[in-house]
Symmetry: none
Subunit: 412 residues, 2 copies
């Protein structure tokens, strides 16, 4: 089975200038992978004839399928259409069906049409048109040297519509594509290098499949994407995953795309447990991630974000003596925060954090990045000490992950 290689080209100065984040190419690559097409190149270029021609020529030398977004709009800087007419040797003609569609669209919105809108119905005569139900610019498809070229508007909604209702079908019908399956094992609490070493033996023994390690601030995702055929290789990947689970199981918090707050939420719901949170170091980030999950009000009762000692003492009943003896950033204080917040909200479980998020506030004894993160599940309490780092936002993220993960492990 021949491997089908594709290239995504985004045309747009606003992306190059850093004003628009290019989510189109990302979204298209996800859709293509689902049907078994590999994206080998993503390119972003300026809205000029020279750059568009250069990019198309290059793509023509290496890709089987070329998907372009942007530059089909009505404004004068959108020059893609005349440029590609040159590239494909087309004449530009007015398409009556498109013109009618544009007229209907404007009539439906009670808007007046302008000559610029009428220009949208002018298309290359050797292109197949892709209907745009929600916008004025039709998409274009060309076949050249056995290759498929698609041109779509840059507006995400219009582009997605064309991919979903036309382009994926065309590609699937034309090529015999592999069925792919993705294995994902999301880990936290172990650095990428350590994880890799633990797994080195089984990865070397295993089949020659690309195992991706995707490091994030809060953990490492292991991903393997593989065809279901041949069956023998597929089975060896399944065996490899079993081995990874056996070796790194305690670090794996999910084998889905779900975030940790969702994973913990599922566990709390299944076990009919309730949760409260006391946050100093993480400043509300744990509560916010928990409440990002739909239905979290079923198990989440509330949180106290206590940025002062007074609040810890008054609302969480942390003893003033404990803070005086050990400091607010200490295992002892976090233990009392846990029991205090559990009592305050009358919950089965609790998470608490205290630390120095930075960049200021550090001392030699208690430097920036020092944090105590604890979890409580009924009569079990676990508080761990961390030395995260100097970056405030990363510290908040890591402390949040550590808090959620601590409770997950305590419940299991």
């Amino acid at each position: 089975m021949k491997k089908i290689r594709s290239e995504i080209i985004a045309i747009g100065n606003e992306i190059l200038a850093g004003w628009t984040l290019n989510t189109n190419s990302h979204w298209i690559s996800q859709r293509l992978y689902e049907i078994g097409v590999t994206v080998e190149w993503m390119t972003t270029i300026a809205d000029t004839e020279a750059e568009i021609i250069a990019a198309l020529k290059l793509a023509d030398t290496r890709a089987d399928i070329i998907l372009c977004t942007g530059g089909l709009g009505p404004t004068p800087d959108d020059i893609t259409k005349s440029t590609i007419a040159g590239f494909f040797g087309s004449s530009l003609v007015t398409d009556e069906a498109t013109l009618t569609h544009i007229k209907n669209l404007f009539a439906g919105r009670n808007l007046g049409m302008s000559p610029t809108n009428i220009k949208q119905a002018v298309v290359p005569d050797n292109a197949e048109l892709i209907f745009n139900p929600i916008g004025t610019a039709p998409g274009l498809m060309f076949t050249k040297n056995e290759k498929l070229f698609f041109f779509m508007p840059g507006v995400p909604g219009e582009m997605k519509q064309m991919i979903n209702s036309f382009i994926l079908d065309i590609i699937s019908a034309r090529y015999q594509l592999d069925q792919l399956e993705t294995f994902i094992l999301r880990t936290t609490g172990i650095p990428e290098s350590r994880l890799f070493e633990k797994l080195a033996t089984v990865l070397n023994e295993g089949p020659d499949v690309p195992v991706s390690f995707l490091p994030k601030i809060t953990g490492v995702d292991i991903k393997i994407r593989i065809s279901r055929q041949p069956r023998e290789v597929y089975q060896r990947v399944r065996t490899l995953c079993d081995q990874i689970r056996r070796i790194a199981g305690k670090y794996i918090y999910t084998e889905t795309e779900q975030e940790m707050a969702q994973v913990l939420g599922n566990l709390l719901r299944t076990e009919h447990l309730t949760l409260s949170v006391a946050e100093s170091f993480t400043g509300g980030s744990i509560a916010s991630q928990i409440t990002d999950v739909p239905g979290s009000s079923e198990y989440f009762q509330g949180a106290l974000i206590c940025y002062s000692n007074e609040s810890k003492i008054k609302d969480l009943e942390v003893s003033a003596q404990t803070i005086q003896n050990y400091g607010a950033v200490s295992e002892e204080t976090v233990r009392e925060m846990l029991s205090g917040v559990r009592k305050m909200f009358q919950t089965d479980c609790a998470i608490a954090t205290s630390g120095i998020a930075g960049p200021g506030g550090g001392t030699t004894a208690k430097p920036v990045g020092l944090a105590y993160v604890g979890a409580l599940f009924r009569d079990k309490v676990l508080v761990k000490k961390f030395n995260f780092g100097k970056d405030r936002l990363i510290n908040k993220d890591r402390g949040t992950m550590a808090g959620l993960e601590s409770l997950r492990r305590l419940i299991l």
Copy 2:
């Protein structure tokens, strides 16, 4: 003045596979534009020797500055380093300073080092190393045919650190760059089309400069980027900004890149005011955004995230009668939440939210997206009703912005 053209190359199968959204190239392009460097190409390629070499060769033909991210990690799929050593004719040597840094990093985190980590200190002998204070892989800089090549890790925090504290300085020192100035006016509380209509007259009258409207979930940023020369055009842009301020001033919360939480924080610090927050609808997101700001502990005392009526009654002293009469999602409840949380934390100011974030929990009378967002400043209280929408995360974001903005306006 020669135009300096740059290319950003992202190396990573995880981007091509749609597993990771490429925010690195976007962020780098923003920083480069700020110092007057134009990004002409963004390319994403696979982690293979052939693709990396091909991309470097192509970039070498067209760009003055080439910035690459990704592939510097410790696992075998990170092959960038050996590949670029081949491209630049380097030998690989162990750098002692980097090795010491790696050892210190691991010692500080109480983690064991592995042979894989030691490999990170192996670098091309003809590269200038870029220090990585937060990670193990140093960045690399090469000069070849008067061109600058930079290689950075794909981890965003590490990449950003290298750009900010080394690469921008190197580029600025080497080239005489056109001084660009960006005018930014960040607005919230007015939809893009309304804002555009209000400003249509002055935009048409104004000079022929590209005014960009950048809509986000929480507001619209107006940006104008222009050279300081010729002076006459620059002055006309300044006049245009004055006109925008006159017409849309009440919606403009900052003329910097700062987020709203930072803007409000500056105001609270300047005015010596303290703040507490009571969050139901926003679930901790307001507290988390406030505490994202370094030094927020100066003015932020704490927050109560109250996901239950009991907590509102017990901790915030909202009267049970109010909740029974008007419901937890009501102006009356939010008013009592405001005075309750102010009393709980003894602060000058307070923000409170209550609503139905969705996707569940809506009724005909109180549909998903309904929210009351209030602010208190000494004896002044303002509670506003919103109908946001159906998306939970967008609702949380919009509610958070509305809360912060309400207090900002109340204080002014």
